[in-house]
């Protein structure tokens, strides 16, 4: 028994199709909740346009946003599972196929020559985060494609350990929000990485964006208290959907903490726009596939 390259490819293709077209159900619930909370016509109107758009994308089976992003994959491999073939090749082929079949916009270029590969792959894309799951016999794949309106507002600062890092974190997020306003297409999810290194800090912030369900709290009570405080503070700025004014700028603040250096530590902030394009599946060693974020679609 093993997980075959061809199976990985067909599952990842399905995931990118789901991600580009269908919003995860918990995001839809969060949007509905945001709509219900608003009392101004302007804010309600923005939510209405977003929810109508989601329905049109579903009915017509087209990308919900034109910026279908840049593909990132989080792959967690159970150490009791066995993979046959080259999973990276499977990811790459699935994305190439999804680019023409879904279709997804051809976004990936070489940053210096600006040549567009036309396939959303190449020069290290898809970017894959590998992790291991001891004692498990499956492969978890979270396929993400993230637009850059929210990505380019990602920010990192360094805080001395002589400072109150909690206060610094609150200020970092507020400053990034105040600078971004409507640009990352709010309502957004805000990922925060407290500590770690330059790369790992942003990595944990980004992965936190895909926490299931949206708005749930970090199990560490100190971190959870900061999440709660930041969420209230950010929504209190009356920026609302698209920054035109309203109560819901963020659908959830998800913070993660990582051990860091005794001198100074990074605090990283990143947004995920309302158009959450991600989908997750579990491939068992016996070939069974479970679709986790979009169970209602069933896959194959």
């Amino acid at each position: 028994m093993s997980i075959k390259q061809s199976l990985i490819e067909s599952v990842v293709f399905e995931l990118y199709k789901q991600a580009s077209i269908e919003i995860p159900p918990d995001v839809m619930r969060a949007l509905q909740k945001g709509y219900d909370l608003e009392d101004s016509l302007v804010a309600k109107g923005q939510f209405e346009a977003i929810m109508e758009n989601i329905n049109i994308a579903h009915t017509k089976q087209v990308g919900m946003c034109q910026d279908t992003g840049v593909p990132i994959i989080y792959a967690d491999l159970g150490l009791k599972a066995q993979v046959e073939g080259d999973p990276y090749e499977a990811f790459t082929e699935a994305i190439k196929k999804a680019t023409t079949a879904v279709p997804m916009r051809q976004n990936v270029i070489n940053p210096l020559t600006k040549k567009n590969s036309g396939t959303n792959t190449g020069w290290g894309i898809p970017y894959v985060h590998w992790d291991t799951l001891p004692d498990k016999d499956y492969l978890d794949i979270l396929a993400v494609t993230k637009g850059f309106g929210s990505e380019m507002r990602g920010s990192q600062c360094w805080v001395l350990s002589s400072e109150d890092v909690g206060r610094a974190t609150v200020k970092a997020v507020l400053d990034v929000v105040a600078d971004s306003m409507g640009e990352p297409c709010p309502p957004v999810i805000i990922g925060v990485g407290i500590g770690g290194f330059a790369d790992s800090s942003m990595s944990i912030a980004k992965k936190a964006l895909f926490r299931d369900p949206i708005g749930s709290r970090n199990p560490d009570p100190d971190v959870a208290a900061l999440e709660e405080e930041i969420e209230t503070a950010v929504n209190g700025l009356n920026l609302g959907p698209m920054g035109f004014g309203g109560k819901t700028y963020t659908l959830g603040v998800h913070a993660e903490l990582s051990g860091s250096h005794t001198a100074v530590m990074p605090v990283s902030v990143i947004f995920q726009c309302w158009a959450c394009r991600y989908a997750k599946a579990r491939i068992h060693n016996d070939g069974r596939v479970e679709y986790i974020t979009h169970p209602h679609l069933g896959g194959k």
Binding site: N53, Q66, W158, K171
Partner: protein
């Protein structure tokens, strides 16, 4: 109270000057998508005294890179089309507005002060869409009429689209020096000051050690 306007291209200065911040606009006619590389090429060409291969001034610029595909007759069709972040085009966009007397720019988020000043001077407006609702706007696009500069990659190409009642678009910058996001910023800054106070954060105290630019002191000895 905001008003609603249905305009068919070409737009004239009188129509544009009538629009006030927050008014709703629906547009009919040909619009031109333009992103970073398209702006760069257009401005470079005009600076070199060359003519653009399309008549921008007859329509509007849309900060958009659509998803497109060929239909059964090998003709391009729009799958999804929505706005990209407009602040990126503040400077090159302002150049274009001046050079071709462009009357309308469609996008999301904001264009910064230089654009506000340029629009006031020329008689031009910035129209806000809802960001990301690209399946919705695709329904308002009747046809892809033409495409230019596909060598820049499909997202960066200039797609000439015939739209019908594209909207509602919100006047985000009018031709009287006013900007929705600037007004919003003024309001937000007050709330922010109170929020810092409540959170026991001194807004003038820079909690972040980096990034910061420390200028050299004195002269080289």
């Amino acid at each position: 109270m905001s008003k609603s306007y249905h305009f068919t291209f070409p737009l004239n200065e009188e129509q544009i000057r009538e629009l006030q911040l927050g008014d709703l606009v629906y547009l009919t006619g040909n619009i031109y998508t333009m992103r970073d590389m398209g702006h760069r090429r257009a401005v470079d060409m005009l600076n070199e005294g060359k003519e653009l291969p399309f008549d921008l001034a007859s329509g509007a610029i849309w900060h958009c890179g659509p998803i497109v595909r060929k239909d059964a007759n090998d003709k391009w069709e729009t799958v999804s089309a929505g706005s990209t972040t407009s602040s990126r085009f503040t400077y090159l966009g302002s150049d274009l507005i001046k050079k071709v007397k462009l009357r309308a720019t469609i996008g999301k988020g904001q264009m910064l002060q230089t654009a506000v000043d340029t629009m006031q001077e020329v008689g031009s407006v910035f129209l806000n869409t809802t960001g990301g609702t690209a399946a919705l706007y695709a329904q308002q696009i009747e046809e892809i009429v033409d495409v230019h500069w596909t060598d820049l990659g499909l997202p960066e190409a200039i797609w000439v689209m015939r739209v019908k009642d594209l909207g509602p678009l919100v006047v985000g910058i009018d031709s009287h020096g006013r900007s929705l996001f600037n007004d919003k910023k003024i309001e937000m800054d007050q709330l922010l000051a109170q929020t810092y106070k409540d959170a026991k954060i001194d807004p003038t105290y820079n909690l972040a050690y980096l990034p910061k630019r420390v200028p050299a002191s004195g002269t080289k000895k």
